[in-house]
């Protein structure tokens, strides 16, 4: 079996084995073993990929192709480039840490969790538009029950809102996919082959916006981001982690891989519309985060801002900015997962997420608090951590576009860094330092061992990405290059 199919087969096997499990110990064993295997497989994938890359300069490596539905040229086609490899690694890390962050959940929760993972991994390995879309939707629907059953707060409302908004996005997307297939001649659904075909301009004008919007909804594109704060605030910890950490990246990845790659002409001509929208996302998300008092809402709006930056950078359509965008995806995925893990930890103990009802947690839970500070610093772009590298590349790349429109937008977007610092430092100062707000909090225990595993795992990745970004950047660059070449040939 192709190494890529392992990433779908393994969660599927976990799901089936879970059906047989009865006790909590068995469930945890299965989940930890499975997630560790996924992590190992991801590490193996990087090694194999780097080896293959040295030997070949094909656009996609490790490809495998099986005909599925011949009449519509639907294949089960898998293959990866540098970007998807890193996305798979990110997903594996977050699935792994997510298991530890949801240590006390029951079997049914993990069944849906596995299904969600199948969707996520399947999406990143797919080269076929149909299977890509299939996995995309597989990743969406478990969210409804994960939030609706195990969530907190206005969970039913949030779950329904999230599901319907994302499904509405996929309605746009499917129209776009059918458009791509039939206007390119109805011969292939394979992304690489489609890139070699030309979609008539008149069709590109509607397919590009439709596809970009479809994926953009998941990437929290303004004004279709409203599912994100509610959804993330209501979701249980590990679901927030996976959703903000990985699922929102599906949006950015899809915009890059489908909308821009397949319709380069329209991307050039129409990118300005979406640049304005993403610019608003970046700044508006940050400002909204400033006025929130619920920890999860703060982080959710910060995600809107950061994911907006991903789409913003992709739309700059140049090598540096796009590389930065992928780095930003990785960086945001890791740190937002860390944030949600810690918020879940704090909420599980204090039973409040309102920053006005907390204070001095540093004295009570030193480990969790230190981790929170690290996550905050990564988020506001402290050099040495992942956030700095990503944002630096994004803004350098964006500033390279030297017309007034791009320059102004870049400057506006760059302002979000300052606003980020405001809400991060304000939150950190309020809840971690100062007097203990509630005396009942004094007796609360610090992080348990499984929560420490989760937090430390993520911090190690964040620091690694910050200290040695070139390792990731080199792999990304090779993935971005063919797309940029495709864009510049015009």
């Amino acid at each position: 079996m192709n190494i890529l199919s392992v990433f779908v087969a393994l969660p599927l096997a976990m799901l089936l084995v879970l059906f047989l499990c009865r006790t909590t110990v068995q469930i945890r064993t299965v989940m930890v073993a499975g997630a560790s295997l996924l992590l190992l497989a991801a590490a193996a994938l990087v090694v194999v990929f780097v080896g293959e890359r040295a030997a070949s300069d094909a656009e996609m490596l490790l490809v495998a192709d099986t005909v599925w539905y011949a009449p519509l040229n639907i294949h089960y086609a898998v293959g990866v480039d540098g970007i998807s490899v890193l996305m798979i690694v990110l997903s594996a890390v977050i699935v792994f840490t997510g298991v530890f962050s949801s240590w006390n959940m029951n079997r049914e929760f993990f069944l849906w969790y596995c299904l969600l993972s199948i969707g996520v991994f399947g999406f990143f390995i797919s080269l076929d538009l149909f299977t890509m879309f299939l996995f995309y939707e597989v990743a969406l629907i478990p969210m409804y029950l994960l939030i609706g059953v195990w969530g907190t707060g206005r969970k039913e409302y949030s779950a329904m809102k999230l599901t319907l908004m994302l499904m509405a996005g996929s309605a746009f997307l499917l129209t776009g996919i059918l458009g791509i297939y039939f206007t390119s001649g109805g011969q292939t659904m394979n992304l690489v082959e489609l890139a070699g075909r030309h979609i008539p301009m008149m069709h590109q004008y509607w397919i590009f916006p439709v596809t970009f919007l479809g994926f953009g909804v998941l990437g929290a594109l303004f004004p279709f981001h409203t599912w994100s704060p509610d959804g993330h605030a209501s979701a249980p910890t590990s679901v927030s982690m996976l959703h903000a950490g990985v699922l929102m990246k599906l949006g950015g990845y899809g915009c890059f891989r489908v909308a821009i790659y397949l319709m380069p002409e329209a991307a050039h001509e129409l990118s300005w519309i979406f640049l304005i929208l993403t610019g608003i996302s970046v700044v508006y998300g940050a400002f909204s985060a400033v006025v929130q008092t619920d920890l999860k809402y703060i982080n959710a709006y910060s995600s809107v801002s950061h994911c907006g930056l991903v789409l913003f950078a992709i739309l700059m359509l140049n090598q540096t900015a796009m590389t930065g965008a992928v780095l930003q995806m990785l960086s945001h995925g890791l740190m937002t997962a860390l944030f949600f893990a810690l918020i879940g930890l704090i909420y599980g103990r204090t039973h409040t997420r309102d920053i006005r009802e907390m204070g001095g947690l540093m004295k009570i839970m030193p480990f969790a608090s230190v981790c929170y500070v690290i996550a905050g610093l990564a988020s506001l772009g402290l050099p040495g951590l992942s956030g700095f590298v990503a944002e630096m590349m994004v803004f350098v790349g964006a500033f390279a576009e030297h017309d007034l429109f791009h320059r102004v937008l870049t400057i506006v977007a760059a302002c979000s860094i300052v606003i980020t610092a405001v809400y991060i430092l304000r939150t950190v100062g309020k809840i971690l330092y100062g007097e203990v707000f509630d005396r009942h909090h004094l007796g609360l225990p610090d992080a348990a061992w499984y929560e420490k595993v989760s937090a430390v795992g993520l911090i190690v990745c964040i620091a690694a990405l910050g200290i040695w970004p070139s390792a990731a950047a080199n792999i990304i660059t090779e993935g971005v290059a063919p797309v940029v070449k495709h864009l510049t040939i015009l």
């Binding site: 599925w68 539905y69 011949a70 009449p71 519509l72 639907i74 149909f130 299939l134 996995f135 939707e137 597989v138 629907i141 409804y144 029950l145 609706g148 059953v149 969970k155 039913e156 329904m160 599901t163 319907l164 499904m167 509405a168 309605a171 746009f172 499917l174 129209t175 059918l178 458009g179 297939y181 039939f182 109805g186 509607w206």
Partner: protein, 477 residues
């Protein structure tokens, strides 16, 4: 005498034999045999299904009134499988209470309507088609009123017979005009000479309206909700799957082959009707409190999706339509199996009866959820694939706007399907809830088969390939 014509009709012959055998068994069998009636009926129906899967023969009988091809064999198989599921699911209900002594009636009346539907599918002449429609409709009214001591069931029967008679009349009226315009009722002759003259068009529109009633396309859907709600649950399942499917099959054949020359006309008609059907079916489904009414509107909107495939107008379009109906059969039957089980235990059909089903009956809740997801078109379940192929068939003609409207409506439909999932998985039952439901073995078998199909039919591409081969075998204009 030449018996080869009967070999051609072996599905109908088997069905008739099964019907007569059941009738004789019920009337003349000793009283002690009666307790096995359910088993006998199920086995007889299974035998009819098995006969349908023998290698198909093609040809004509009765001077072209009756046409058999691989495609008609497949369509009839879909209808008989649906009926088999109905038998499996309704058997327990038939035995309860005062109904026990007339259990047999249900089986042979149902087989009679099924015979009518098979004749509709195989018709090669409009008279034959009309006979089939009548044979399919009249006994159905008896079935809808089967639970005669319940007012709603009696009302359903009365409504169905009135609407059915009206629509048959309208159809007959249309056929008379058509005959006046082209001078023949044979499909092959009509297709050669039909042209968009006012008289022929008038005839066509009336004929179409009669069929649209069976499929419950908007605006011919007004009977649907009341009849679905009032009829016994098994009959509702039968109406929503077999009856609708038969109508769609006939529509496919007549539109493609008989009225192929006036495609421009029916294409525009179907465009408008499919949008209206999807939108209105969806909007009304949103507010329903009774699960059977809910499924009435859900099935109306599904019929709208089926029309998208019909509009495809190619072998691909035909394949996707038949495949959609096949998947719809399994999804709807799974849902109705669960509804029957819940109704059998609680006697309730309101959606609130499903509150907290996950806690009391996790397996039933699971099956219901799969069925709903499949109906909503969520991967990896079969409904996703069938919807995708329908949309692909429409998109192949460049109907992106239509596809988009339909897709937006799937989001609306997802909302109301999720409401039931929410009732089962998130809401808590009031009071003690349902308690553990003991489904009988027959219904359990039907649910297991449907679940396997919902999960497997999409992933196993050979099934679509099979349907595709069948429709490619039909000579298309």
């Amino acid at each position: 005498m030449d018996f080869s014509g009967f070999l051609l009709m072996r599905q109908e012959v088997a069905l008739t034999a099964a019907m007569l055998a059941l009738l004789l068994y019920d009337i003349f069998g000793p009283a002690s045999w009666r307790q096995h009636l359910r088993l006998v009926a199920t086995v007889a129906m299974a035998a009819v299904v098995a006969v349908g899967f023998l290698p198909a023969t093609t040809g004509e009988a009765f001077g072209g009134c009756y046409v058999a091809s691989e495609m008609t064999a497949l369509m009839k198989n879909i209808l008989t499988v649906a009926t088999l599921f109905v038998f499996l699911q309704i058997g327990g209900w038939l035995r309860a209470g005062e109904r026990a002594h007339r259990e047999g009636e249900f089986y042979y009346i149902t087989t009679a309507t099924l015979l009518g539907m098979e004749l509709m599918v195989s018709a090669g002449n409009f008279m034959m088609l009309y006979v089939g429609v009548e044979l399919a409709s009249l006994p159905l009214a008896c079935l809808a009123a089967y639970d005669k001591y319940r007012n709603k069931s009696a009302e359903a029967g009365a409504k169905y017979i009135l609407f059915s008679a009206l629509s048959s009349g309208v159809m007959m009226f249309g056929l008379s005009y058509l005959y006046g315009a082209v001078g023949t009722l044979y499909f092959s002759d009509v297709s050669a000479v039909v042209s968009p003259t006012p008289l022929a068009l008038l005839g066509f529109v009336f004929f179409f309206a009669g069929l649209a009633f069976k499929i419950s396309l908007v605006p011919f859907h007004l009977w649907t909700a009341d009849v679905y709600e009032g009829a016994p649950t098994g009959v509702t399942a039968y109406l929503s799957v077999a009856s609708k499917a038969a109508g769609c099959f006939v529509l496919l054949f007549t539109l493609y082959f008989v009225f192929g020359r006036i495609e421009g006309i029916w294409y525009a008609m179907l465009w408008a009707l499919s949008v209206a059907t999807i939108v209105i079916g969806n909007l009304f489904a949103l507010r329903q409190k009774d699960i059977k009414r809910f499924f009435a509107f859900s099935s109306i909107s599904q019929a709208g999706y089926i029309m998208l495939g019909v509009m495809g107008g190619t072998a691909q379009g035909m394949a996707s339509t038949v495949y959609f109906i096949l998947v719809y059969l399994f999804s709807n039957m799974a849902a109705f199996g669960v509804i029957a089980a819940v109704e059998g235990c609680s006697g309730r059909t309101d959606i609130a009866a499903f509150d907290g089903l996950r806690r009391s009956n996790p397996r039933l809740a699971f099956v219901m959820m799969l069925a709903l997801f499949s109906l909503a078109g969520i991967p990896p379940f079969a409904g996703f694939f069938s919807k995708f192929f329908i949309f692909a068939a429409a998109a192949a003609r460049g109907e992106y706007v239509l596809v988009f409207i339909a897709l937006v409506n799937t989001v609306v439909s997802l909302y109301y399907y999720l409401l039931i999932v929410k009732a089962m998985f998130i809401n808590e039952a009031e009071g003690e809830g349902l308690g553990r439901i003991r489904t009988d073995n027959y219904n359990r078998l039907s649910l297991v088969l449907c679940t396997a199909a919902i999960i497997g039919v999409g992933i196993v591409s050979a099934i679509y390939g099979y349907v595709g081969d069948m429709s490619a075998g039909v000579a298309l204009k």
